[in-house]
Structure formats: C-alpha cells, structure tokens
Symmetry: C2
Subunit: 232 residues, 2 copies
DNA sequence: TCACACTCTTACACTACGTGCAACTTTGCA
DNA sequence: TGCAAAGTTGCACGTAGTGTAAGAGTGTGA
C-alpha cells in the first residue's frame, strides 16, 4: 500500500509530505476499490472487508478512513460538491448569491467532474442504500452554501435575516439537486457535449426559476433553449 | 403487549380490527419507549434491545416494526410531516402550490402537532445521530410534495416542466425546514401562543420569500410582524 | 363451539458493522 | 542513528440487522 519513492512533482502545495501522500493514496485506493466492487457486485453486494481486501489494507484501516461502506462511496459525491463550493467561494462577494451560484454550477458541466457522479448515480439509481449518506453529502453542501450566503448578506442587528439565509441556501441546493436529477433521468451517463449543454441549461433554468419565484407554471425550457446564457 | 378488550369506539374507520389495533398499539409503545429512553439516556445511550425491553416486546419484533433505533425516533418526524402532506392534499387543486403550501403549513402551529417534534429536536440538537433518518424523513416528504405538485401543474407534452416540479417541491421543503430550524433555534421547546405565532409567521415569510424569488436581501420579518396574515 | 388458516411474535443462529486497545511498522526530525 | 509521533494491523467485544422455524394469537366458516 505504500507509495513507491516517485519524485512527486513539487508543483504548488506547501508540504506534500510522505505521510500525506500515503494517506491520500490509500484514500484513493479505497474509493477506487469501492467503486470497482459497486460495478461488479452491485449495491449491497459487498462488505467493508471486501473493500479493504481489494484496496490492499486491513478492515480496521478501512474504518480509520471511512465510517462505513456508504461513506466510502459518498466521497464521490462529496468531491463533486466540494468543487462547486470552491467555485462559489471564488465569486466576488458583492455578486448576488443566485448569480454566483449559477456561475459556480457551470463548473459541473466539465466531463471530468460529473463523470464519477454520473456513474455512481447510474449504479445506485434504484437502490436506497446510498440514500442515507448521499443525502448527508448534499446537506453538508447546504451548510457550506449557508456559510457563503451568511457572509454575503448584510447582517440585520436582531438576526432577522436568519430565515432568509437558511431558506435561500436550502433552496439553492434543492434546485441544483433537481437539475442534476432531471439531467440524470433524461441522459443517464451520457457525457456528450450536447448532454452537458443540456445540464448547463438545466442548472441555469433552475436558478432562474428560483430567482423568479417560480412564477409561470408553464414557463419551462427544453434542451438547448433560448434562455439567458449568462456565464463566465 | 396486547390490548385489553376495551370497547374500541367505532367512530369512523372502516375496519379497526383487533390485529390492526394491536399493531398500532405496539408501534406506539415502541416509539414511546424510544422517546422515553432518549430523554433518560440521551442520543446513542441505548440499544434496540433496550427499546424492545422497555416496550415489552422482543428485539426481533422491534425490527419487524422499525429497521433501526433511528427509524423508531424518526417516526415522530414522519408523523409530523404526514400531517402537513394530508393538509396539502386537501387544498383545492386550482390553488397555486405556494399558497396551498402556506395554508397547509399553518396546521403545524398547533401545539399538539409540533410538541413531539420540538422535543425530539431539543433532545437531539447537538448530535448527528438523527441526521441520517431525519434527512430521509424530510426527503420522503419532498417526494410527497412532488407528487402533489406534479398533479397540479399542466403537463407539457415533452416533460419540459419536470425541472419546474422537482425544483419547486425541493424548495418548498427546504423553506419549510428552514422556518422550523430558525424557530427551534430561537424558541427551543417554547410552545406558548406567542412562540407559535412566530412559527406561523416564519412559515408564511418563508413561502413568501420563495414566491418573491428572494428578491430583497434585507427584507425580513422579525417576530409578530406586519406581513400578510393570510391563513384559514 | 370447534377446527383450520392466517398473521404475528419469539428464540436462535449467523453475518457484518464499528470501535477500543495494544502491539508493531513507518515516517519525521534532530 | 536514535527517538518520538503517526499510521497500520490483529484481536476482541458489543451491537445491528436478517433468515428461519416453532409457537401463540386472531379471523372465519362449518
């Protein structure tokens, strides 16, 4: 399980020490093994011990990295959502949150980003075994969005905008999730440019729906439609 | 565990047979026992066997009713959310969903309805042991709202409003949840009329925020404030 | 009232989960 | 090189959750 003494490229990070490299490699080996087993055995068809064996570590070590098999798989979702959060934090502070979210979500249209999540979704589609941990991942993302939103909203003295920030953060997550779900259900694991364009459009439309208060019950957009293509 | 041969009042239900009464009583006994143990031992301080013993049944029977200790406690949340869904389904079909949701949510301001949830929240506040199953309960409610919303929206031929319904249902849930969270964090288990009035107002405001597209980042309402008091 | 079918409960056994603990090995640093 | 910190591993233990078969309770028709 140890990393061979490869001359790790000292690109940018402050201190990619040996220990951290080993841990990262082990962590990656675990998620790879878990995903591989999910492909071959299906959801629920393997145990924590199976993952550990496939990753070349002991069962005990597996639990040092992840608290459950679900958590190992949900790391895919976490990684996916972390990218969005990082993009969101990069947006200028004075930008309205909905626009910032819309812009940040565009990062999801990158094939390399969505591919793992799309596969995970396809493999666990009709099984609620992932539901637990996956919902947690989205909820964790919600708290991140909440933190970003809180810092952007002018604080009322008595915390009167508590509701505003909570509701907004939750709704942004719900709409993003809705866009992903609709895309998955329509295109499955299709990562073609047209499919990704549709995902982009769905994300834009979802944020637009939120910004317009869901006004017109019939105003919807199909695939590469003519709605506001405002992005970076 | 069996119900004494009490002359069950034949009020309305079609067939409250003995078996169903027993099952309902057992189910109730389990949740009561679980809640009682939660009060005395705190979250994570008891096992499924403890609950079974307290409820006067075997451990195996406990698992015939609930799939986990969390699920037994989350039945409180489920019961709470079921009330809202039932209210929502009673609203006239032509009423806009946001208004229907706002009206349905008013049922939550009833002390008897919120009391169990408020206590559960207070007892599990700083412990994510409930997170799993509680998130599932809210997500289950989301699917119910989705079903209601789907039936109310004029179906576009190509399913172009899929996104609309998904996003709306998720956002309604998120906003309702946000209102509950803010209320809990402000008033704890305070069930006084003023506190319930504030909850009512928070729910109204949350739906209003959603309907207005979260337009004014500073337009929030404090406690018994002067915003639209439309209710039944 | 009895007998039979159906449903629910229970005990038992078994696999898997998740964690505390105490060796043991690897890494970082002087 | 030697020591301390960090990480890995095997072991043991209690708990979760489920299959199974036997037994107790309940509904129904003769």
């Amino acid at each position: 399980m140890n990393v061979p003494p490869s001359p790790a490229s000292p690109t940018s990070a402050p201190a990619p020490s040996r220990r951290e490299l080993n841990k990262a490699a082990t962590r990656q080996a675990i998620t790879d093994a878990a995903l591989s087993l999910l492909r071959s055995k299906g959801p629920g068809g393997f145990t924590a011990e199976d993952i550990a064996e496939a990753a070349g570590i002991s069962r005990r070590t597996f639990f040092n990295y992840f608290s459950s098999t679900d958590a190992a798989l949900a790391s895919v979702t976490h990684g996916f959502l972390d990218i969005v959060i990082r993009q969101l934090e990069l947006r200028p502070a004075e930008e309205p949150l909905l626009e910032a979210a819309q812009a940040a979500l565009m990062a999801l249209a990158d094939p390399k980003t969505v591919e793992p999540l799309a596969e995970l979704f396809a493999l666990t589609q009709h099984s609620q075994l992932m539901a637990h941990t996956d919902l947690e991942a989205w909820d964790h993302c919600r708290t991140q969005v909440f933190a970003v939103a809180r810092d952007r909203v002018a604080r009322a003295p008595d915390g009167a905008d508590e509701l505003y920030v909570h509701a907004l953060a939750g709704s942004v997550i719900s709409c993003g999730k809705a866009a992903m779900e609709v895309w998955f259900s329509r295109r499955g694991t299709d990562l073609s440019p047209e499919s990704l364009a549709e995902l982009r459009q769905l994300l834009i439309d979802a944020m637009a729906l939120l910004g317009s208060g869901f006004s017109p019950p019939a105003a919807a957009t199909a695939a590469p439609a003519p709605s506001a293509p405002r992005s970076s």
